[in-house]
Symmetry: C2
Subunit: 327 residues, 2 copies
């Protein structure tokens, strides 16, 4: 592997000069500049990012800890974060916590060890212990999608209050009174919040908690559909649990919305293709990712960005049934 020393030797200058040329510092002569660049070219030299970062204590790298990479919601966020970061010359290391608090903590530590310049985390649970570790080291931190009690860092998330109120109203208008909710885990802020906000809609709720994954959606739907007094509609608080619910409905040969109405929090491209298309609360996923990256970069630059709340909105498509004037 060729080092800066090789380049220096090849160009007949010192390593300091090579470094200066490569970093555009203290302008060297045009002549030495071209000579150095020629040597770099010829040897195919690439600076060792490890050595450089060790010296400069900067990696121009952001760490992103995602709750679940296979969840398209998070995949899209990851992509948005990455794009925004790249536009600012930063690179992103994506780590997948798989909705596990332990794995999340492991990754946070790992990213800190690698000296990322900042950390973007979608917290798996409410457990706040890992945050202290990050703040001790004075590494800029931004929370994404979910918050954690007692966190003092900026938070970027969607505000679904209005959309969920609208959803409750739409369900009511369609004649639903008793609704089964497939909620997120009670130890996540989004899990609690969405449920709370939806509960304000005045419907009678049956609640089963899932874990934001497909299988839990299947189980929760089954539990709700097995109730003696079956709810007339289901609301899944996450796209993967929505998928699970759909699978269970299909398995039981229940027609949507004739037998059971359905709505899902978080839109997916295939929801409009179902028959009937699924009514959803759509989140501004890409904007969330971008905003989070921007906040983190601001924090790194020494600014004090505010929390960001982007509004989610209801998209009525038909899976909850038609509004009946009679109701």
């Amino acid at each position: 592997m060729t080092t800066i020393k090789d380049v220096a030797q090849h160009a007949g200058v010192s390593t300091a000069t090579v470094s200066r040329v490569l970093n555009g510092h203290a302008a060297p002569t045009e002549e030495t500049r071209t000579r150095v660049l020629a040597a770099v070219e010829e040897l195919g030299y690439r600076p060792n990012a490890l050595a450089r970062s060790l010296r400069t204590t900067s990696t121009t790298t952001l760490g992103l800890v995602i709750s679940d990479l296979v969840n398209p919601f998070f995949a899209e966020i990851a992509r948005a974060v990455e794009e925004e970061a790249r536009a600012h010359g930063f690179c992103v290391i994506v780590a997948n916590a798989d909705e596990s608090a332990e794995q999340q903590a492991t990754y946070v530590r790992n990213l800190l060890d690698r000296r990322v310049d900042g950390l973007l985390v979608c917290p798996a649970t409410d457990d706040p212990t890992w945050i202290a570790e990050v703040e001790d080291k004075h590494i800029p931190l931004v929370l994404l999608d979910r918050t954690v009690a007692g966190a003092t860092c900026p938070v970027v998330r969607a505000d679904g209050a209005q959309a969920l109120a609208d959803l409750a109203a739409a369900l009511t208008a369609a004649g639903h009174r008793r609704v089964g909710v497939i909620a997120g885990p009670a130890d996540t802020s989004t899990g609690r919040e969405r449920l709370e906000q939806f509960a304000r809609g005045g419907l009678e709720l049956e609640v089963v908690h899932g874990d934001f994954r497909r299988d839990s959606g299947v189980r929760a739907a089954a539990a709700l559909l097995d109730l003696p007094d079956r709810p007339t509609a289901l609301v899944a608080m996450d796209n993967l649990m929505g998928l699970g619910a759909l699978e269970e409905l299909r398995r039981r040969n229940l027609k949507v919305p004739a037998d059971v109405g359905l709505a899902v929090y978080d839109d997916q491209p295939w929801f409009p293709l179902l028959d009937p298309p699924i009514t959803v609360v759509a989140q501004p996923t890409v904007e969330m990712g971008r905003a989070a990256a921007r906040s983190l970069l601001a924090l790194i630059a020494g600014e004090q960005p505010d929390d960001v709340r982007l509004t989610a909105r209801l998209v009525v498509r038909g899976s909850c049934g038609e509004a009946t004037g009679a109701a």
Copy 2:
């Protein structure tokens, strides 16, 4: 930030001893061991991964360059790679090339700069120039999903020949003669191969090339459906283009399979939920990711793993129509 020096001082030993304790080398006394560990604990010391890697020339990190993170096929692969790597104590840096050869090259270089121990790439195009760079530096490399002409490194991919033959047969049995193919880019191995293998099925084909993304699926489907002598079925060679095709069919109010049959290469969890459920060629996604990670780790360990070909299989679901005994 506390360094190994602080720990050494705190424990009253030399930095060398601290290092030995932490790395389990040349057994120190039980007594010094506990003393050092106590100091580590007390100071909350974590070794600087940059410095360590600089010294040892090993990062226990794999680089994974993905064609498109938002494509669920690749997202699932990424997850599998990451799991397998973690099981072996390796960490994965995921980079998203967004189907762009340039961005891919940029990321490959970036990962090499960071001195990853090995590289896993899903090549965006056939352009092989970047491979030379990797091989020059003797960094272990494994190609995933797609291959590149002249590559001498191990390749892990799916073999869809039989499945595509089966699909052609199934389409024929269902009475189709002229089929519109939404193919992948001609400058990707999977794009060419799938088309070639399907073409052997003896059907009359109309081919439009897409780019493995949703929009291109929409456009390609539109082009095919606008043909004067419209094909009786469409085959999309990738799940995202399949999604696009479905959207276009929906927009035109064409019924599947009554008006047009449809099949897609690469299964997705929501395909069975459509009406009718979509016939697909299912790839062993997770196994591909795992196998690729294993191959790369073997390469890093100095072994010479063989190429891996995992067989894809046809899953008939109904979107191509029923086999007619009459045909």
